[in-house]
């Protein structure tokens, strides 16, 4: 396959060139490459090639919640959103807390054969916070990290043990940070809009306290830790300070935290219900600043698809989460690159190189010899988010009707076109 006249996003520069894929690898990046006999040519003038996007925080719901999503529909959503590699969280039914479930996910993903799926195992059995899950066995079956997802391991000693034991197997803990007693049933950010709506609020401190704890543990043990979906200005600052003194902490945020604020909740739209909750403008700006200065390493969608029935209820009863795979890239490009916070290279770092580095995954850069995982987009195309066109089963998005720039045209995994936009 030969991609002609594309704008190619390299590590530190963007150049217009041709890119040849052979045997699943990037064979050549250069000017005026001539098509070989029978070689497919993609005329990509005006299009931009990114290193295949990597999302290290998605929920595929299978096994157990196939009504919300399954591995096939989730992978279709991933490649439509430009992702060549995704890491799926363990809060399935049964919980992905053993090698059998991890293997099942790997096998299903192989059958589906769209993007690369890297399962994340639970930290404790059944995500109950009591006994460590068989981390070694899960690693052997293909788990790339462990996470308690959706909650923190409350017991600090157990969390310390998890970090240490996982480190023996080269795995990192991905930490959802939430002090359950402080959240206390809160469903939105505590502030003006929780008071206005009467919805129960949750303080920033509920997230910050656990971010601080994970940083303290990582620092004490001299081990790495990764903080999931940072949403508070104060959490960004905690991570910034920890990095400055050499703690091996990495962090992600999600497009909704740098795009929306809690003013979106005032109509009780349950698609705005997400955990951690949408915060205030100063948090949104701090998250962007954190991405800019490197405090926040990467962008993940926290793709959390739900069935309509899970959202068409009272706000308090609605499920947390946003179906994000199909909007993540365009939101990031529109908000951050068009917004002036990141360059194209910077965006590629946040959505490909960094996530690969954090979990030691393949991919992450466009280099000769690397796996041909490519995301080809039209950055100038403006489109309107319409959940009914989502291929994910989850139509739950607070971005309905929003105009975005950046449309995925092709997603290439190991040299094969896994998604091509219909014309």
């Amino acid at each position: 396959m030969l991609i002609k006249h594309a704008e190619i996003v390299l590590k530190n520069s963007v150049k217009v060139a041709d890119l040849r894929v052979e045997q699943g690898r990037i064979a050549r990046i250069g000017k005026d490459l001539r098509p070989k006999r029978d070689e497919r040519v993609i005329e990509a003038e005006g299009l931009t090639v990114f290193p295949g996007l990597i999302d290290i925080h998605v929920h595929l719901r299978e096994p157990g919640f196939e009504r919300k999503e399954d591995i096939a529909s989730g992978c279709r959503a991933a490649v439509k959103g430009g992702f060549t590699q995704i890491c799926c969280m363990p809060n399935t039914e049964p919980v992905a807390d053993n090698k059998v479930v991890i293997s099942y996910i790997k096998n299903r993903a192989k059958e589906v054969n769209l993007c690369k799926v890297r399962p994340i195992g639970a930290i404790t059995k059944g995500q109950k916070g009591e006994d460590l899950a068989p981390i070694g066995g899960m690693k052997a079956a293909g788990a790339v990290a462990i996470s308690e997802d959706g909650k923190s391991v409350e017991n600090s000693k157990l969390m310390a043990n998890a970090m240490q034991y996982a480190a023996d197997f080269g795995l990192k803990c991905l930490c959802h940070c939430e002090d359950a007693s402080l959240v206390g049933g809160g469903v939105v950010n505590e502030g003006y809009f929780s008071t206005l709506t009467g919805l129960k609020g949750s303080l920033r401190a509920a997230e910050d306290i656990m971010i601080a704890r994970e940083i303290c543990l990582a620092e004490s043990l001299n081990l790495p830790v990764h903080i999931c979906h940072v949403s508070t200005y104060s959490g960004v600052q905690l991570i910034r300070e920890a990095k400055a003194r050499g703690v091996k902490v990495t962090a992600e945020t999600c497009p909704h935290y740098f795009t929306l604020t809690d003013s979106a909740i005032q109509n009780f739209d349950t698609d705005t219900k997400v955990n951690p909750p949408l915060r205030e403008e100063k948090d949104r700006l701090a998250v962007i600043e954190g991405l800019k200065d490197g405090t926040i390493d990467c962008i993940a969608s926290d793709h959390a698809p739900h069935h309509r029935d899970d959202k068409n209820v009272e706000y308090d009863l609605a499920a947390f989460g946003i179906s994000g795979l199909e909007t993540s890239f365009a939101l990031s490009y529109t908000q951050l690159v068009k917004g002036g916070a990141l360059s194209l290279c910077g965006l590629a770092e946040k959505m490909s190189a960094s996530p690969a580095a954090i979990l030691s995954l393949e991919g992450g850069s466009l280099e000769e010899g690397a796996a041909a995982d490519l995301t080809i987009v039209d950055l100038n195309e403006e489109w309107t988010v319409d959940p009914e066109t989502f291929v994910s089963k989850g139509k739950n998005t607070p971005f309905k009707g929003r105009k975005l720039f950046g449309k995925v045209k092709y997603t290439v995994v190991d040299g094969e076109i896994k998604y091509e936009e219909e014309r």
């Binding site: 502030g191 809009f193 008071t195 009467g198 919805l199 209820v313 009272e314 706000y315 308090d316 009863l317």
Partner: protein, 307 residues
């Protein structure tokens, strides 16, 4: 009223509130003269759908609808059934299919009446949703004030009690501000949520400051479960440092009214002397409640015929 439903006072205009209060005063005069025969809802049906216990509000709505000639059915759904049983949307569709004209809903979760209103053709009246709004309570409070003072504009209303968990405080704040009153609030800091100042309330640092020059002193119910939640140490301590008593009333205007949405914890939010005193309007509020609900129901019904 412009909308199909009455969900709260936040989105009502001053004119709409004024319209309700004017008709409410007329209804109250009729009730006081013993006239309980209305026909505004003749041939219509109303359902009270209460997911929280209530005697006062439910009875008040039921009587209001009956006095206007409607057929009324009461459904008491325990709050536990919210989580286990039929969804609110499905319940709403069922009640709609039975051709009900009004659904009067009380629900422990904010926004539930809005969800119901979006689902059904019937008029939805919010009889209290979580910590969001309780519009008819605020309307009856304002009706009582207007009856006593002849106006709302320029009044100073002090609200003391569990502001954080109170839909009454918020609906009153929204309504009173729209009609030009001043609202001051005081409570233990654990019971004052963020942002009320941006909504127009004066958040005070002492009860004396809150009550200074007030025309109305309103106590809000303190629920025992809030103490168990660690918001304050005991009802006794609450009464001592945060409650309203005769001494405090010296800071208010002479003859200032004492109000409370009920049910009152005697000696906690207000001393017995204030509850039973000359300036107490707590019983008066109850009749205002029936009257203002009659006004709301008939105004909503009127919109229907206009369409």
């Amino acid at each position: 009223m412009k909308e199909k439903d009455l969900l709260g006072l936040l989105h009502l205009s001053a004119e709409e509130i004024d319209e309700i209060l004017s008709l409410g005063l007329e209804m109250k005069r009729r009730l006081k003269s013993g006239d309980k025969t209305g026909s505004a809802l003749a041939g219509k049906s109303a359902v009270t759908l209460f997911y929280e216990n209530s005697t006062r509000t439910r009875t008040s709505f039921e009587l209001a609808a009956k006095f206007l000639g409607a057929q009324v059915v009461n459904i008491a759904a325990s709050s536990s059934s919210v989580q286990k049983g039929e969804t609110l949307v499905d319940t709403g569709k069922t009640l709609d299919a039975m051709k009900n004209d009004f659904i009067i809903i009380r629900h422990p979760m904010g926004g539930a009446p809005k969800l119901l209103a979006e689902t059904v053709k019937a008029h939805v009246v919010n009889a209290g949703d979580g910590m969001n709004e309780h519009p008819t309570q605020a309307l009856l409070d304002m009706l009582t004030m207007r009856e006593n003072f002849g106006r709302i504009e320029g009044l100073k209303v002090a609200i003391l009690g569990d502001i954080r968990h109170s839909r009454v405080a918020k609906s009153n704040l929204f309504g009173l501000k729209k009609l030009g009153a001043e609202v001051s609030m005081y409570a233990p800091r654990t019971l004052i949520p963020e942002g009320l100042d941006r909504m127009g309330a004066k958040i005070c640092s002492s009860r004396e400051e809150a009550v200074e020059g007030a025309d109305v002193v309103m106590g809000l119910r303190i629920q025992l479960e809030r103490q168990k939640g660690g918001n304050f140490p005991s009802l006794g301590e609450y009464a001592k440092y945060y409650g309203a008593n005769e001494e405090l009333m010296k800071y208010a205007k002479p003859g200032a009214l004492v109000m409370h949405p009920g049910p009152v914890n005697r000696g906690v939010e207000l001393t017995c002397g204030l509850i039973d005193g000359e300036t107490s309007r707590i019983e008066e509020q109850v009749l205002s409640g029936v009257a203002v609900r009659m006004a709301v129901l008939s105004l909503l019904a009127k919109e229907e015929t206009a369409c």
